[in-house]
Amino acid sequence: MGRTVINIEDAVVSYREDIALRGVSLEVNCEEFVGIIGPNGAGKTTLLTIVNGMGKLLNGRVWVLGDYLTPGNSHLLRKKVGYVAQVQNIDPRMPMNVREVAMIGRYGVLGLLRRPSKRDWKIVDEALGLVGMSNLAQRPIGHLSGGEQQRVAIARCLAQEPELFLLDEPTASLDWRAKTDIMELVKLIHDSRRLTTLLVTHDLSSLPVACDRVVLMREGLIWGEGSPEKLLTDNNLSQLYDIPVSVVKARRQEAISV
């Protein structure tokens, strides 16, 4: 860990009349695992989209992996950034199997007019093996459960061989077992591939284990950042989510006892 790979300076993003980010600045170091939490509408997803060049800045600038992002270079940068979104509603009749969907991760790297080679398929098969999906490789993608689909999304990112790993609530709407499995997988991949990881989540119980640093966001601003142990106190969470401390305590207790 050491050199900076992401440097966001005074970023402002707006969706029509709503301001999603109100001047956010953040530095992330190489191989760091940063968790981002906050209530809905805090700007967490938008923060990820300006890092992979899919979000449009009204003001400020973003430096990623050695370059300032511009509309002209963002598609090149995205080839080096793995992005796992929330569980998607995939058409159960979609005519694609798991292996083909994981291969999409290679398409950007391959570029136009080039077909996947045997080496590309080998990379995909290894990625599917790592996420425990080899046995379902030929199954139609729409026939998988939410947890399995997220594993395929992670395999797609791995096939991309990224330098940055962005995850936007990858465990939202999954059951407890699938949540813990996915979080363990993410941590394993982060450590073994020495990636720089940004994770947006509502799953507070997993953060102290997984993250080096936590960023708390509220109303389009960074409300606090630091180590999970120091920052994720009942008092801080009470203020962040605007709920009484007793409720925070009760919910955290529930999460532990599940």
Partner: protein, 282 residues
């Protein structure tokens, strides 16, 4: 059956037109079905009809008017739907009714006989000329060629556009390229099938293929096969029973879809999903 009819030039032209139009329309249909954008296609086909009538009324090539107005409608509806400013149903309701309205307005303003306009409305594959076939042939080669060359980018964009963008694929360019090809295909097939019916030939073969396979490559091939089958069978029905050819082609494609839907192995998906839900609850 009297087969000497197939020796005539006009019938050979019609058979070739049905072959080329069937492939082009059915290939475009795969995008329309898998990208869930039938509303854009319906708007474009009716806009093409209105544009062709504008050309007839003002005295320029109807195909230029058809191409221009179908692209204009895609340029308006596409971004609106893309940004979520209009729901697909609203876009369809507004643009579809507007295009049909101005189409009939142009028809009403047209002086003299309306036979040319009616041909564009119902289609007249039996009167297709060599130049119509050349245009259809060029469009078909371009459509099939681009699908072949950019298959992986198209596949990723069809699967999930934002995901395709996130791995560095120019998914927005692919989407607007598909709309452009849709406009070109509708324009080239307009005289054969007719402005009111063309969209059925785009949608039905692809929707039938969608019922039968979990492979996208196979879906493209099946769809093209069903498109040609609909064209040729419809043409034969038209000849045997002395019926309008555009209508028989479209009705045949609808029957193909219904048969595919009845025998679809994907009907099991529903039962399979319910089983998963039950297992999830346990």
């Amino acid at each position: 059956m009297e087969l000497s009819i197939f020796g005539y030039q006009f019938m050979q032209n019609a058979i070739l037109s049905a072959f080329l139009g069937g492939i082009a329309c059915a290939t475009i249909g795969v995008f329309v079905v898998l990208m869930h954008m039938p509303f854009i296609g319906v708007c474009m086909s009716h806009a093409a009809f209105a544009g062709a009538l504008l050309g007839l009324w003002l005295g320029f090539n109807p195909l230029i008017g058809a191409f221009a107005l179908s692209l204009l409608s895609a340029a308006i509806v596409g971004p609106l739907a893309d940004r979520g400013e209009l729901s697909p149903e609203t876009s369809l309701g507004v643009i579809f009714s507007f295009m049909l309205g101005i189409a009939f307005l142009f028809m009403g303003l047209m002086p003299g006989t309306k036979s040319g306009a009616l041909e564009l409305l119902w289609g007249s594959i039996l009167t297709n000329t060599r130049s119509d076939i050349i245009l259809l042939g060029i469009v078909t080669i371009v459509v099939v060629g681009l699908v072949f060359v950019f298959y992986k980018e198209i596949q990723a964009t069809i699967f999930h556009r934002d995901m395709a963008l996130s791995v560095g694929i120019p998914a927005t360019v692919i989407l607007y390229g598909v709309l452009f090809l849709t406009g070109a295909t509708i324009t080239a097939s307009l005289r054969s099938i007719g402005g009111l019916l063309i969209f059925s030939l785009i949608l039905n073969p692809a929707a039938a293929a969608y019922q039968l396979t979990y492979s996208m490559k196979r879906m493209f091939l099946l769809s093209a096969g069903f498109g040609v089958l609909s064209g040729w069978t419809g043409l034969l029905m038209s000849y045997l029973f002395n019926l309008p050819s555009g209508a028989t082609i479209v009705v045949t494609s609808s029957v193909v879809f219904m048969i595919a839907a009845v025998f679809s192995p994907k009907k099991k998906v529903k039962g399979w999903q319910q089983k998963l839900l039950v297992e999830g609850r346990q």
